[in-house]
Amino acid sequence: MKYVTDDDLTLLYYGEHDDPGLAARVAGSEELSARFDALSAELKLADEYLPPGRGDDYGSHVWQRIAPELSAENTESKLNWKSWLSALGQPRFSLAGVFSLAIVAVLAFMLGRSGDPGGELSPLANTPGNSLTLLGEVDPTRLLTQKVSGHLENVNLVLTQFVNTPEVSANAAEFATDMLVTNRLYRRAAAAQGNQKLEMFLAGLEPLLIELAYDAQSRSPASHERIQREISDGLLFRVRVFNQQLAKTGQTI
């Protein structure tokens, strides 16, 4: 009998599981019922994420604000809707992206330093109350492994999407660019830790991420198909397998 994963239970919770017998199976098993109840209780807390209330006249208020903006012309758009949706994805290299990458950069730098076998930690690292002290208490290799695993999950998601869609969205361009920069930072951190296997694997991903980012910008069908083939011909599989290995070992690969 197939093992019931938490993802299966999530689909069941939202009424989207395609196995009609799953509900009965969960109901008939103490272990599965307990897991399902835990998931339900945790997700129920999300109901507390309540927006501030708006009065009954909120719709009228919105109308009053936008009415002057609406032109009297026919609503046939000057731009087609696909193009403006794509335009919403710009600028590709957003400030939010830069901000998040800066955090990754700092983390990668610190991981690299704390894992550098030939280097010494800054004297500040031993100062009580300094955040570097906390970092020194965790296993930097394990921390890097966890971070890279999350990164590879993102890569897997975007590659899967890329392979299965006929054209690239503006969002994909931004993701690919962000992932490329993140990938480089983690590769450097792995190099600083002396983790050659991880470094080489991440280095192997870079050419494709560069092409992906470029392709998302150029939107050339020929290039898109070529990269799709390259991904389907084993890269996606390698990413998944490598990430599974990372998740299993939780230590240096």
């Binding site: 999300a46 998601l157 969002n171």
Partner: protein
């Protein structure tokens, strides 16, 4: 979609402002809830709602009756909210509701309302720690009741991609909220 709504949409697409006003009145609350949950910012959510309807007015002629009008509006809202978030210099600049810690210290106990506020604050924080795609997917599934298939359309993902986004969001939220269940 009901026939009466289709009729209103056709009128609006033909330039009938009164018909479009009906759509604004009908969907404003829903758009605000989605925009606020995306941004955790009341003022930004108000701006996003207005922008959504202006964009909807300009593009309603392109709307195909095959999908729901609400789904179409949600797609505009999610994209507009993501655009807003990208423009923010400080992405995490949202104000989470905090418990009244002074009162807690004075009385030496946490009241039910304080616990409730704490749960709300932590839920909000957990939600804002999700990636934009994960948060959108979860909001559309959990609060708006969209199917995985509809979420894929709204977010321009594959069905598998939208499913994975929901799974990842759920996993992260569970980890963040688990301590509150046992508390």
């Amino acid at each position: 979609m009901s026939q009466s709504e289709q009729k209103i949409i056709r009128k609006a697409a033909a330039g009938d402002r009164t018909a479009f006003r009906e759509l604004v009145l009908e969907h404003s609350h829903s758009m605000f809830r989605l925009a606020w949950r995306m941004t955790s910012d009341e003022s930004a959510a108000e701006d996003i709602v207005q922008e959504v309807f202006i964009k909807a007015w300009r593009n309603i002629g392109k709307f195909k009756m095959e999908s729901g009008f609400r789904t179409w509006l949600h797609r505009i809202a999610v994209n507009t909210a993501m655009d807003y978030l990208r423009k923010q210099t400080s992405r995490r600049r949202y104000e989470a509701a905090e418990p009244d810690w002074e009162r807690v210290q004075e009385h030496g106990e946490v009241g039910r309302e304080d616990v409730r506020i704490d749960i709300r604050a932590q839920t909000q924080e957990a939600m804002m720690n999700l990636s934009d795609i994960e948060r959108s997917a979860l909001l559309l599934r959990h609060y708006e009741g969209h199917s995985i298939q509809e979420i894929a359309q709204i977010l321009e993902l594959t069905t598998s991609g939208s499913k994975q986004a929901v799974f990842r969001a759920v996993k992260k939220m569970r980890i963040a909220l688990r301590p509150l269940v046992t508390a």
